[in-house]
């Protein structure tokens, strides 16, 4: 068996008797881009929330690099190297793009509680932050207030901020949602570029993005795994068509 970075075993989440995620067994291979797809309400985002512990797990186990991480705090998960994005762009709107990235670098360097130091000392992270902004095509935005940036740029900034932590595993929740075609293409290329040397798990609705990027696809339906495989296998599966389109007449 190939080297797996993340594994779930019978991962289950119940909300007052409603089972949102039902005994999901996922294995994410190291270095792959893995997609989680499925119709609305299939439980994709809930799986994300469970993996990053933004929601407590009802039953089952999560293992990262072979160590059980179930029950840890979300911030701990992040420090282990699993960093997520959100469906709604997760940026700090009242800070500049540079400061957004720097906040991530600060955490990594442990410059968190120093209330007696001048913030000017943070300029030592500027070079690295600019480098990351440049990587996602935002070098001209570094001084801009994030609230004033276009939507697609905010998503790119989110990726730069995540990359600042050099995560082993990136979880992207619908990275191209709400984007025009040009932005979708740019983001797809960006994800491809940053996937080098790391593992990505993404929730995505846009199937052309999935087919262009993903090595492996897991289809969820009503909280359970419907099928899994590469794009060709999954898209040929009649049950997947049925899940998306409803039963053929």
């Amino acid at each position: 068996m190939a080297d797996s970075i993340l594994q779930t075993e019978n991962l289950t989440k119940e909300f007052r008797g409603f089972t949102a995620v039902d005994s999901v067994n996922l294995t994410i291979e190291r270095g792959s881009i893995h997609a989680l797809i499925g119709p609305n309400g299939a439980g994709k985002t809930t799986v994300f929330n469970l993996l990053t512990h933004f929601l407590p797990v009802t039953r089952g186990a999560i293992r990262f690099n072979g160590t059980e991480i179930t029950g840890m705090k979300p911030a701990q998960i992040s420090r282990l190297g699993i960093v997520r994005s959100f469906q709604i762009s997760a940026v700090f709107p009242h800070m500049s793009a540079l400061e957004n990235v720097r906040v991530a670098l600060q955490r990594k360097e442990g410059r968190i509680f120093q209330f007696w130091q001048s913030e000017r000392g943070l300029s030592r992270y500027n070079a690295r932050a600019e480098e990351l902004l440049d990587m996602v095509g935002l070098s001209s935005f570094s001084k801009a207030l994030v609230a004033d940036m276009p939507y697609g740029r905010k998503r790119a900034l989110e990726i730069a901020t995540t990359l600042a932590l050099e995560p082993e595993l990136m979880l992207l929740d619908e990275p191209t949602q709400g984007m025009g075609r040009e932005d979708v293409e740019r983001t797809t290329a960006l994800i491809k570029q940053v996937s080098a040397g790391r593992t990505i798990l993404m929730v995505e609705h846009n199937l052309s993005v999935v087919s262009a990027l993903c090595d492996r696809i897991t289809v969820l339906q009503r909280g359970a795994v419907l099928t899994e495989g590469d794009y060709a296998t999954v898209s040929a599966d009649p049950r997947v068509k049925e899940a998306y389109m409803g039963k053929a007449a």
């Binding site: 959100f86 997760a90 800070m95 957004n100 968190i112 509680f113 209330f115 007696w116």
Partner: protein, 308 residues
């Protein structure tokens, strides 16, 4: 930048000559409340948490400092420091209990614990109950300067309050201040970047409580009195009013707000409207919330931004 430096020099010069123009006790009262409001603003304006129990730190430190000076006979500076540290320690306990909650729940827990502190101070022996802790000696600054002289005391109080204010300014413009801003902007994202947001908030809360305590302890030295007014929940409300009126989340706003509120109270208390002070304060509060939410400094900043 040079314009700003000129303004700072002018302001410092004004503060130096002020006690020869205006009654020094009144000025010192404003200074103490200015530091209190600036410390409160650290947690409301920069931490995004509404504490409704800051009187406990202000008034608690007032009592403890008074006791330390009067009974233990500590030097004045040390008494004030003890008051501030005690307030910080109590702030840490309250913070640990309240920090996981948000919005109204956070406010209610801080209020409830502050009320417990109030009942402690009303019933404890050393506080003098309804009479307050009276006749606190002012002592000597650094063992040299006699603080019974109001002008000397003024410079002593000015140094403490300016020092406290500079700590607030530095904290806001520090690596920690950046983290606080990020947290206020998007808490979930801060968590997903690996920040332990509860610990960050707790530090802000303890800093705020400690500096509020320094303000309350200094006030005890000025008036030679710690009383129930200082720990009453009205005091918690007043500091909210000062901060909002002056401009929450701005550095100078709370200082200005404190000046306006204290000046109003003093003017009105001696005139024919003295019985109406709470009504007038309430009206100002309502107008402030309805018409200019950014407060005096916030509105001025917005105006400057619009016109350039």
């Amino acid at each position: 930048m040079t314009n700003r430096n000129i303004l700072i020099v002018l302001a410092l010069a004004a503060l130096m000559v002020a006690p020869f123009v205006v009654y020094p006790i009144f000025l010192m009262k404003i200074l103490c409340f200015a530091l209190f409001a600036a410390a409160f603003n650290l947690i409301l304006g920069y931490g995004g948490l509404l504490s409704f129990g800051h009187a406990a730190y202000f008034g608690g430190a007032a009592y403890i400092c008074g006791h330390a000076l009067k009974v233990w006979g500590l030097p004045t500076e040390l008494g004030i420091l003890v008051g501030g540290l005690a307030a910080g320690a109590f702030g840490a306990v309250v913070g640990l209990l309240a920090i996981r909650r948000q919005g109204i729940y956070f406010a209610m827990i801080t209020l409830a614990l502050a009320q417990m502190a109030f009942f402690f101070f009303i019933s404890a022996d050393f506080t003098g109950g309804e009479n307050g802790l009276q006749g606190v000696p002012r002592g000597y600054a650094l063992g040299l300067f006699d603080l019974s002289n109001n002008i000397t005391l003024y410079y002593f109080v000015l140094a403490i309050c300016l020092g406290g204010f500079l700590i607030v300014v530095r904290a806001v413009h520090s690596p920690f201040g950046q983290v606080l801003r990020a947290l206020r902007d998007n808490e979930d994202r801060a968590i997903s970047l690996g920040y332990d947001v509860e610990r960050v908030k707790l530090l802000a809360f303890v800093l705020s409580a400690t500096l509020s305590g320094i303000a309350g302890a200094t006030k005890t030295v000025v008036f030679q009195l710690a009383s129930l007014t200082d720990v009453n929940w009205h005091m918690s409300g007043e500091v909210v009013l000062m901060t909002l009126l002056g401009g929450v989340g701005t550095l100078l706003g709370p200082v200005l707000g404190a000046g306006v509120v204290v000046a109003l109270q003093n003017t009105l208390a001696s005139g024919p409207l003295s019985a109406w002070v709470p009504v007038i304060m309430g009206t100002i509060f309502v107008i402030c919330v309805l018409a200019f939410r950014r407060g005096i400094v916030g509105e001025i900043n917005a105006l400057i931004k619009r016109s350039f």
